[in-house]
């Protein structure tokens, strides 16, 4: 084992360095992922809960989408996929994501404003179709 000492020392140093970077990196960029129902429950308990930013996965309510081409303001209502009771309005400013559509599943990231509107910094469409062409569409 004595022969391997430099190898172990080097490995230990790099492991410590990477570990440190990972630890601090986690602290800075960890984002909780919630369903709309979970987020409402959390913010009811603690109104400042989402101040650090959260991700929410839900579905765009059909008929709720308003997009202003000029100001690029996008407003829509998001609903919990499993619980139609939970809905809240979302506001986002920026170009419309390509695959954004009514009825689509989306992941939004941002924070819940005091007004009850979710201010999204990103809107991602969950395009499962990118990798799996939703075989379930036919199966069900």
């Amino acid at each position: 084992m004595k022969k391997q000492r430099k190898f172990l020392v080097g490995g230990g140093t790099v492991a410590a360095l990477v570990g440190y970077l990972m630890f601090t990196g986690m602290k800075d960029s960890m984002v909780y992922y919630h369903t709309p129902t979970e987020l409402i429950a959390k913010t009811t308990q603690d109104p400042t809960y989402s101040d650090v930013g959260v991700k929410v996965g839900g579905r765009v309510v059909p008929g709720s989408v308003h997009f202003d081409q000029r100001s690029l303001d996008l407003r829509f209502t998001i609903v919990d996929i499993e619980n139609a009771q939970t809905q809240f309005p979302v506001h986002y400013n920026g170009p419309l994501p390509d695959t954004f559509q009514e009825g689509r599943d989306v992941v939004i990231e941002g924070k819940m404003a005091a007004t009850g509107t979710f201010e999204a910094s990103t809107v991602l469409t969950k395009c499962g179709s990118r990798y799996e062409a939703g075989a379930e569409a036919y199966e069900s």
Binding site: K3, Q4, K6, F7, G10, G11, V14, A15, L17, V18, L21, M22, T24, G25, M26, D28, S29, M30, V31, Y32, Y33, H34, K55, F67, D68, Q69, R70, L72, G94, P95, L96, D98, T99, Q101, K126, C127, G128, S129, R130, Y131, E132, A133, G134, A135, E136, A137, Y138
Partner: protein, 659 residues
């Protein structure tokens, strides 16, 4: 008729299982007839060819009764995308993966019919095990010939974002890389099984490793190109789980490429090399699984297709356990022949490079699967975004960049102060001068400044290496400098080819760092209106919105907006940005407009059109050097390819069998 493809899959599975058994038994009992039989089962490859042919045929014949075809094609899809439908989705991709591996296996068996005979039973056995594994997944969990309960009149069509040139060549290139790494892996397993743990398994598979690395690199670059032109957010790397997945084997594979040199020269790092190639192989399998399965989105949403996850996890765990067991069993034969004498030596630089690559791999792996871990163990899904990956990988990248310059010029064993002074004075001076002048010139972004200064250091070391080599040749052979330079590279492709790759890497790093100076603006323009934006290199672009036109193509309606571009007051042509509405999927897709220069790109996104025909653009001027990196990678490929396919080189480097 196309059902024959499914029969072919079953036949291939049966044959490969027989071959796998007879290879290992034949190797263990030293029965030549069994080994020969196993090697002949490589004809299973033809079963896979038939199967792939059948899949393509069913795409071309619009047979939407197949779930796979219905999911990725429709009547209006162009012939080109129907043909490449083979690898458009998970199911077909797995068959394609198996086909590539079978082809590579067949080449390996033919290449080694008279060489490496003691390895071949285990090599064949390992390769057939992997082929059989893929066939099991295909046949039992992801059958491309699965029928729908009824035959729909038309398919769902291909996702518009996949209808792009880069996206059609990206998966096959990546798969070529993944599968080619299986060959050195199988030789590593054979070396462990036979106990012949000298450098033979490495030298004999050297070309395969290079080939694998080359394809994997190109595959990753193509993926970046696709993201750049197709996703329309003005970037090429987003630390998406799918991107990360392809990066993981690249990181360990690159480490392996370097560490084998230490074993060849100094007989060190024997167990480490085995560990790296086994890791690279397992990560390739993991990446294939991850990219196509959508697992990472959520364990819950994935529950519908759990069979495939269990088969893959089972195989990965079995692979890890067996490899670890073999390493433990042979630990006595893996003792290093020498040791690292000093921290200031080439061995230490290479070791540092390896540890950093593996460290980066673990960090990326952790960040990628963290949502799954947290959801599974804490019941709370937590994701980490690009800031995490940047935070970890930028410092590691900078250290690797420094080692890129140090490694090739520092002395072996223990660098004397004379060696250090002689080799490092000029590059360090260049580094300082460039760094300082950039600081004076206003570059204050710390990471960008470090990247440019270190990049200059590496470029200086490489230039000196080429100059010294060419000068020596010119002196000895009496050749002119230009000729000497060419023959220098040609005679010592491994060394100078490596330097060329390093140049490409430095340029890529500069491109990444230059992102700190991208200029971005969002504007609304009426016809005839114009706007100006200045680039990081001090150029001024003036864009004038001209008009908008509609165009109806076979399967889409295009909305094309065109702008007149002037660069520094001089006309630079028209630039168009489009929005496309695809009929079948009722989806919009934007096509960005890009104007390339050698050092920067003007990148235009049509963000919206309102009834008054005002259009909104997002305009980004980017510091782009990625194309330069591609050039370097291609150059290396042509060098490497000659090494792979030149039979003369093959024989000359074949080592005599030591006893």
């Amino acid at each position: 008729m196309t059902q024959i493809g499914e029969v072919a899959l079953w036949v291939a599975l049966a044959i490969s299982i027989w071959g796998m058994g007879s290879a290992f038994v034949g190797g263990y009992t030293r029965r030549g007839d069994l080994v020969l039989s196993a090697e002949r089962t490589i004809i299973a490859v033809f079963g896979l060819l038939v199967s792939c042919g059948a899949i393509i045929a069913s795409f071309l014949r619009n047979e939407y009764v197949y779930q796979y075809v219905a999911g990725y094609s429709n009547r209006e899809l162009s012939l080109f995308y129907k043909t490449t439908g083979l690898w458009a989705g998970q199911t077909g991709s797995l068959v394609f993966w198996a086909l590539l591996l079978a082809l590579f296996s067949a080449i390996t068996v033919v290449q080694n019919r008279t060489r490496n005979r003691e390895f071949m039973p285990y090599v064949t056995g390992t390769l057939l095990t992997v082929i059989a594994f893929f066939l099991v997944v295909i046949v039992f969990a992801s059958n491309p010939f699965k029928l729908l309960p009824f035959a729909p009149a038309d398919g769902r069509g291909l996702n518009p974002q996949l209808q792009n040139y880069w996206m059609t060549i990206h998966p096959p290139t990546l798969y070529l890389g993944f599968t080619a790494f299986t060959i050195p892996f199988s030789f590593a397993i054979a070396a462990l099984m036979t106990g012949r743990l000298d450098t033979r398994w490495i030298t004999t598979t050297r070309r395969w490793t290079l080939l694998a690395w080359f394809f994997l690199t190109c595959g990753i670059i193509f993926g970046m190109m696709w993201a750049y032109v197709e996703l329309g957010w003005g970037g090429y790397w987003f630390w998406d789980p799918v991107e990360n997945a392809s990066l993981l084997p690249w990181l360990t594979g690159t480490a392996f490429l370097h560490s084998v040199m230490i074993q060849e020269k100094r007989g060190m790092l024997k167990a480490w090399n085995l560990f790296l190639i086994i890791g690279t192989f397992l990560l390739s399998i993991f990446a294939t699984f991850l990219t196509r399965s959508g697992l990472i989105e959520s364990v819950h949403s994935f529950a519908q297709n759990l069979t495939i996850a269990w088969i893959f996890l089972g195989f990965l765990s079995a692979g890890t356990l067996v490899s670890a067991g073999l390493l433990w069993w042979r630990r006595d034969r893996l003792q290093p022949e020498s040791q690292i004498e000093s921290w200031i030596s080439r061995e230490a630089a290479f070791l540092g490079n390896n540890l950093l690559f593996v460290g980066a791999m673990f960090a990326v792996l952790w960040g990628t699967i963290f949502p799954l871990i947290s959801e599974g163990f804490l019941g709370q899904k937590i994701t980490v975004g690009p800031p995490f990956f940047n935070r970890v990988n930028i410092p590691i990248g900078l250290m690797l960049l420094a080692l890129l310059g140090i490694g090739p010029i520092i002395a072996w064993r223990k660098a004397s102060s004379r060696n250090l002074v002689r080799n490092f004075t000029v590059p360090v001076l260049v580094c300082l001068v460039i760094g300082l002048s950039m600081w004076v010139g206003g570059v204050r972004h710390p990471q960008a400044l470090l990247t440019f200064a270190l990049g200059a250091f590496v470029m200086a070391t490489i230039t000196i290496e080429f100059y010294k080599g060419a000068r020596a040749r010119a002196g000895i052979e009496g050749e002119g400098y230009a000729k000497a330079l060419v023959s220098l590279v040609d005679r010592n492709r491994r060394r100078y080819g490596g330097y060329i790759v390093h140049v490409g890497l430095v340029l890529t790093f500069m491109g990444f760092a230059g992102q700190a100076y991208d200029a971005e603006e969002t504007v609304v323009l009426q016809p005839g209106e114009s706007m100006e934006i200045s680039s990081p290199f001090g150029h001024t672009y003036r864009l004038t919105y001209q008009d908008m036109s509609w165009y109806t193509a076979k399967n889409m309606t295009k909305l094309i907006s065109s702008l007149r571009v002037e660069k520094d007051g001089r006309p630079a042509g028209l630039l168009t940005a489009e929005q496309r509405a695809y009929k079948q999927r009722e989806e919009m897709s934007s096509e960005v407009g890009i104007k390339h220069a050698w050092n920067e790109d003007l990148y235009l996104i049509l963000a919206g059109v309102d009834p008054l025909t005002a259009i909104r653009y997002q305009i980004i001027v980017m510091f782009m050097l990625l194309s330069a990196a591609t050039v370097a990678a291609t150059t290396t490929s042509s060098l490497a390819q000659r090494a792979v396919f030149d039979p003369g080189a093959h024989r000359l480097r074949d080592h005599p069998t030591p006893t």
